[in-house]
Subunit: 686 residues, 2 copies
């Protein structure tokens, strides 16, 4: 900790009383205007005892180089102007808006959950389909139990407790990571499945589009990324429409279907009884159950988003959750009932919902409306993941369990890197599946129910530890929810392992292992850079030294390719450091060395010079190796290498006509310990 | 020129007598061994008055970073170990080797020149073909005149005078550039035409390969690039074989053909007399002449390569040139004579030479041998351009008329960048032509004869200026050669303009304009960086200042993101500069600023601090703008920005887990004048 000692010495000499030649508060600065007349900094009123502060305006963020400025303009045209950090607080939702926005994920699952269940049962033929009602009833009960269970979570974690937070806080970091892994696969698959299912709703109505689902889906995902980078949450009220439209469509569908069935309408054309290809056994029923349980994905969204509600947040969130679970069960039950009444069987090319809508509404505007509302709510569900996934990654990054780049809030207050990461992952998964819901469903349930289970298990521990008012009831609710979720997880993992669940489980394992490794790395870096770490064992290993002593512990090296204003400026700067100084010339051959020496002597020989002959003509590496060799003689010294750099301002000239050795030197010198690199620029045109 | 003054002051104070803490000669250094035990530097014996010198060994050129080291190993495995600069001198050739190596370009032209001529004449039917003998006779005379003319060039420029040098030295820089432009198109087309013609020889024998000529040709060009990067000149003796084989094949072909014609052999099957599609007029004949004159491309090679001969160089070169021109005329005349005797007519799918060989040898081993030798000599001709083009570019770069990167001699003593540039250009031209000789020929003659004309015109001026012994004869030879070349250039440019010569002319114009612009730029940079340039008008505008004064003219700024060993090390280094110092913390919001201030005060507040609030969360640009705003208050000061940098040594960790603000800071600060950037590294693991 030489450095801290040196600083203390400097502080003791009241270095800061030495007046700065400029005014850091910028108030003495007469014309702060930039080239475009924009005021870049404003003073901030601070208490007299505080350090002075200035505040950057938006103009201060304009990139410095012309290329970056162009890029930033294009980006802003697409994404909008940057938003102030303080704008975050404004994003809160009324219940009437929160309900549709936060329920889209759960309610839209009705578009694929029942179909996935029936798709398994139909393999058993009519005998298999006979199990549809009992399996659906179990799933509906499960929805109720998990819903009640999440009500407890909201009560305990009013600041928003996702599975990652709850499991991590109560079951330990490792459990939190497992939950995070489950949630991450859940988010990725929510996007992929919702887009695939939404496009299935579209292609049911417009079969001509069916061969193009892969590029179409990739385009939809790219649009979602762009919209979320722009920060779509601002348009929350607009996003209420699809969910309400879907609820209305489903209600109309179920009502019409029931009325027709009761006798008022025409009898449905009896479908040919399907032939089974598999024996009906426990395994088939369990697989159907695992597939059908995807109908409740997204049920946890509200409990993660409690802070997005208006006050009283927890109560509003709980009310909204109750309404949502009610709607979910109603829509799910209604769909299953209609399927039973209409004898609809899953088939390729048309979704079950589309078949039901056809039977109830024919092919008219009501049918088109139903399909459009289904597609829209599924798009909204995919969008939900773009809020959750980046927020989860940012929480993990805050805990140093994910790369720090996921912590950044972008210009538009969105976690830009997380959004791009989700878009990329979902795009890859979607394209690999060929846009098929059937192929994606087996991967889906595993992650979701793993996260559910860990969250509820964490809640049980929470209640047990707290034992606040009404803790016993809550504990029982969560225990029941957790146990049921755990069973679904096991069933899904076991019965779907070969058809895709292995990939989801592998992703969870990868997230857990990767996050643990990341945490270890950040911890190691943190220990290495923490102040006082080196002195922890030995309070004062190095006696405080004066700066004169510091001079003797440093020396300066300046590479000189030829004598010109660039190198002379670098030499002059190096001389002004007033440390022992050596100029080094790397020469490809003797002749060049002679010529350089003649010029050096003619010019005055002001600085000691060493010539390094490089018979293999390389310049950068031999110089770096020479500095290394010098340094090896006195490894305890700090070497300052002063590089003169010609900065050619025109980018094309810089690229084609000048070979910049400076960056290559710097990159190679970076590998050397205790080597400080100083770049002295010389601008052209000057 | 403050810098030069400061240096003079420092020199006057005999700064260099202050002992360095290390020994620049490295002899005090006990163990110079690198990690692999290789001695990286050896001392050089120098006269006592000289600056001391050390010499880098091959081990000193081993890249410093692991990634670069891997790349360099792969490259060396392909291209061979680096060669010392001193190895250049060894590359000299005996006449028996020089003749085939340097004549390949010229002699191989017989493979496409006559065919190109006949290809035009056949458009006039039998009436057109009747002009074959007269046109060929004119071309043979032209060969003689140009050959004699180049003998004079060798005498005047024994150190190798390409058209660029001769025209530049005698007719002015602009004429030299025009010649260079002509030569560059010549080299590019030599590669493209030779490869196309070589593959035509192959596909004549193996028609199945015909549809694949484009990828095959691109592959051949890539192989030529790789071989030349490796430095193929070493294998000179091996390269003698194809030319001798081709001469033998052609001699056998002509002899057999003549013997058969005289009566010994079977009468050739009389070909159906071709029907003309164009009227026979002056234009057709001139076009045929322009096409046929491509048979003499490459005739200038020997005069460019005089230093590659063994002593006495000029005499050996002249003898070799005479032999080559004799051979060229003999092969050309023999081919034309056989064509006349055998009634061969150019046709698609089989070259004229292949037809002649079929008629003389049937389809046996002699035929195959002829085709293989033709293809081999054409490959060698293409290879010749890979010596000439990079050397030309390096000469131009030395005159600051081409990007400096073409001056570099690579690890294997080849001008690597020029080789890659030629390969790229020839590859593009070849692929655009679809590998067709017919489409390339119209572009070819223009550049060649432009360079010939300027070279010979330059020689005329040279003799006129010198008036040494026998100058009159030489002047007449060169004037005749130049006038004839000029006529061919005009004929080729006029008659082939629409069918491709325009592109060659445009390339020449582009080279001339581009080189002039490059020269202007380098001259401007040279003036800007030249020592004494600023003081030229005013001998002593700035009074010599002591270094104490220099202190007052500088101040230091350190950005501090958080208090840790990285930033403390940077601060300590900044303090050791002993200039006015300001620490700057950029904060995204008030809360963060408060937390940082509390830590700063708790730690001791050794250095004055300014907080810059950045409500749009950007760090880099607001900091740079703040430094700019500080600097604007006293633009005459030099600002040193000291950046602490965490250097994470594991590349994957660095890439994924750490966002390095330092490079972005440095890039943005580069745009600021008088801002010196100092990077203080902190290595992890430390």
């Amino acid at each position: 900790m030489d450095e801290a000692d040196a600083l203390r010495t400097a502080g003791a000499r009241r270095h800061r009383d030495r007046a700065l030649p400029v005014d850091p508060g910028l108030s003495r600065y007469p014309a702060q205007v930039g080239p475009h007349g924009a005021l870049r900094f404003v003073s901030v009123d601070t208490a007299p005892s505080e350090a002075s502060e200035v505040e950057a305006t938006e103009a201060a963020g304009d990139p410095v180089t012309p290329g970056a400025r162009l890029g930033s303009r294009v980006l802003r045209a697409v994404l909008g102007a940057p938003l102030r950090t303080t704008a975050i607080a404004h994003e809160q939702m009324r219940k009437l808006v929160a309900l549709p926005v936060l329920s889209a994920d759960a309610l839209s699952s009705v578009a694929y959950g029942p179909e996935a269940m029936l798709g398994v049962l139909v393999l058993g033929g009519s005998a298999g389909l006979a199990f549809a009602l009992p399996v659906a009833a179990v799933i509906a009960l499960l929805m109720l139990a998990v819903g009640v269970s999440y009500r407890q979570t909201i009560r305990a974690y009013p600041h928003g407790g996702g599975s990652y937070v709850v499991a991590g806080a109560n079951l330990g970091r490792r459990a939190g990571l497992v939950a995070a892994g489950g949630l991450m696969t859940d988010y990725v698959l929510t996007v992929a499945v919702s887009v695939a299912s939404g496009l299935a709703a579209v292609t049911s109505a417009v079969p001509a589009l069916a061969p193009r689902v892969v590029p179409l889906g990739a385009g939809v995902i790219a649009l979602l990324v762009a919209a979320n980078l722009r920060g779509v949450r601002q348009a929350g009220t607009l996003f209420a429409a699809p969910t309400y439209a879907f609820i209305v469509a489903m209600a109309a569908l179920v009502a019409t279907g029931l009325w027709q069935a009761v006798g008022g309408g025409q009898a449905p054309a009896p479908a040919a009884p399907p032939h089974g290809t598999e024996a009906v056994g426990l395994l088939l029923v369990l697989r159907a159950f695992a597939s059908g349980s995807t109908a409740m994905t997204g049920i946890e969204t509200i409990s993660n988003a409690v802070p997005a509600f208006q006050a009283p947040q927890a109560r509003n969130a709980r009310t909204t959750l109750t309404i949502m679970v009610g709607l979910l069960i109603a829509l799910f039950a209604g769909t299953i009932a209609l399927v039973e009444l209409d004898d609809v069987v899953p088939r390729a090319g048309e979704t079950v919902l589309s078949q039901l809508a056809h039977q109830s509404f024919g092919g008219g505007p009501l049918y088109v409306y139903t399909q459009a509302a289904t597609a829209a709510v599924l798009l909204l569900a995919a969008n939900t993941a773009f809020n959750g996934f980046p927020r989860l990654l940012s929480l993990m990054a805050r805990d140093r369990q994910a790369p720090q780049l996921f912590r950044h809030v972008g210009d538009r207050l969105a976690y830009s890197n997380g959004i791009v990461a989700l878009g990329g992952a979902a795009g890859v998964v979607y394209c690999l599946s060929g846009g098929s819901v059937d192929r994606l469903i087996p991967l889906f349930a595993v992650g979701v129910f793993l996260a559910f289970t860990l969250c509820q298990a964490g809640m049980v521990v929470h209640w047990w530890r707290e034992r606040g008012p009404r803790w016993r009831g809550s504990l029982v609710c969560n225990a029941l929810g957790g146990a049921l979720s755990g069973i679904v997880f096991l069933v899904a993992a076991a019965t779907k392992f070969g058809s895709g669940a292995w990939a989801a489980l592998a992703a969870v394992v990868a997230v857990v292992a990767g996050s643990a490794a990341i945490r270890r790395h950040y911890d190691a870096v943190g220990r290495a850079v923490a102040l006082g770490s080196a002195t922890a064992g030995s309070p004062a290993p190095v006696p405080a030294r004066g700066p004169d002593d510091a001079d003797a512990r440093q020396f300066t090296v300046v590479p000189v390719a030829s004598l010109n204003r660039i190198s002379v400026r670098a030499l002059a700067y190096a001389v002004s450091l007033r440390r022992p100084l050596l100029a080094v010339h790397v020469s490809p051959d003797k002749d060049d060395a002679e010529r350089f020496l003649a010029a050096w002597r003619a010019w005055g020989d002001h600085v000691p010079l060493e010539v390094v002959l490089s018979p293999y003509r390389a310049i950068v590496v031999p110089f770096v190796r020479y500095v290394e060799a010098l340094h090896r003689q006195r490894p305890e010294l700090t070497v300052t290498v002063v590089l003169g750099e010609l900065v050619v301002e025109q980018p094309l000239q810089r690229l084609l006509l000048h070979e910049d050795l400076e960056p290559r030197m710097r990159r190679a010198l970076r590998t050397q310990r205790r080597v400080v690199v100083t770049t002295v620029p010389f601008h052209f045109p000057g």
